[in-house]
Symmetry: none
Subunit: 149 residues, 2 copies
């Protein structure tokens, strides 16, 4: 496993089932013997909004970085639908994050997530012009289907 993923796991394990954690960029970097900016890389690729995290930080003496897990309670499906309405295209990475999040909060099963991801994968849409637009429409239809009880 690469270092970024190890750092991700480490943070997740320290976070445990809590929903907030504060950490020091420099300490973390030293602990793993990497450049401090690597921490930013991990945060920006693994702790994104679509994965359910908010990152706040403060510079200067006594500063630090705080991760907040977004409470998954207020219907994530409706939330994502709303999010989608603002987008014209849905990039694959974003779709992966979003579907992963639905699985994390148990709005869909692992298997359902796999189905969703194969629908919006490049191998399914690759050939198409405007695949970003199609991906967005497909994901939107899925969410609508999931809302119907």
């Amino acid at each position: 496993m690469n270092i970024s993923s190890e750092i991700e796991q480490f943070i997740l394990s320290v976070l445990g089932s809590g929903d907030e954690i504060t950490l020091s960029r420099n300490e973390l970097a030293q602990y793993f013997s990497v450049a401090p900016s690597q921490i930013n890389y991990v945060l920006s690729t693994r702790f994104t909004l679509s994965k359910g995290f908010i990152v706040r930080s403060k510079r200067g003496g006594g500063g630090g970085i705080t991760l907040v897990r977004i409470a998954g309670e207020d219907d994530p499906i409706a939330g994502q639908l709303k999010e989608l309405e603002k987008m014209k295209e849905l990039p694959l990475n974003r779709a992966r994050d979003m579907a992963g999040r639905l699985a994390d909060v148990k709005a869909v099963t692992q298997r359902e997530r796999d189905i969703i991801l194969s629908c919006v994968s490049d191998s399914a849409l690759g050939g198409a012009e405007e695949s970003g637009v199609i991906r967005r429409n497909i994901y939107r239809e899925i969410l609508i289907a999931l809302m119907r009880k």
Copy 2:
């Protein structure tokens, strides 16, 4: 025996009776003293879907190639896959029939069928050129996801 077949045998023997293996393209290539792209050749000729494998890969540092063995020929999903390989396009009616059949024989849940149908619906694909082709590719990817053990 040619090198490609030796590499194939090697991979199979390491895989043994397991149904998943992760390997490094460059290491393998070095081990057999061949061009890295030869590994792709082996994968694409010997570890195909019809031979019962899915190949996934990730680039970049910490990347790698994963082979997954999938279900046998006798299940309805594999049957539909075979059927699909002969088609260039998948009309919506046909997709409805096929997904319905999967639900009938309990290869998917009702809810999974709904998700599948929304992915291939006209409201998802309506705008696209060649929506029949895209529908076929999406349905195909779904089947592949469903076969994963």
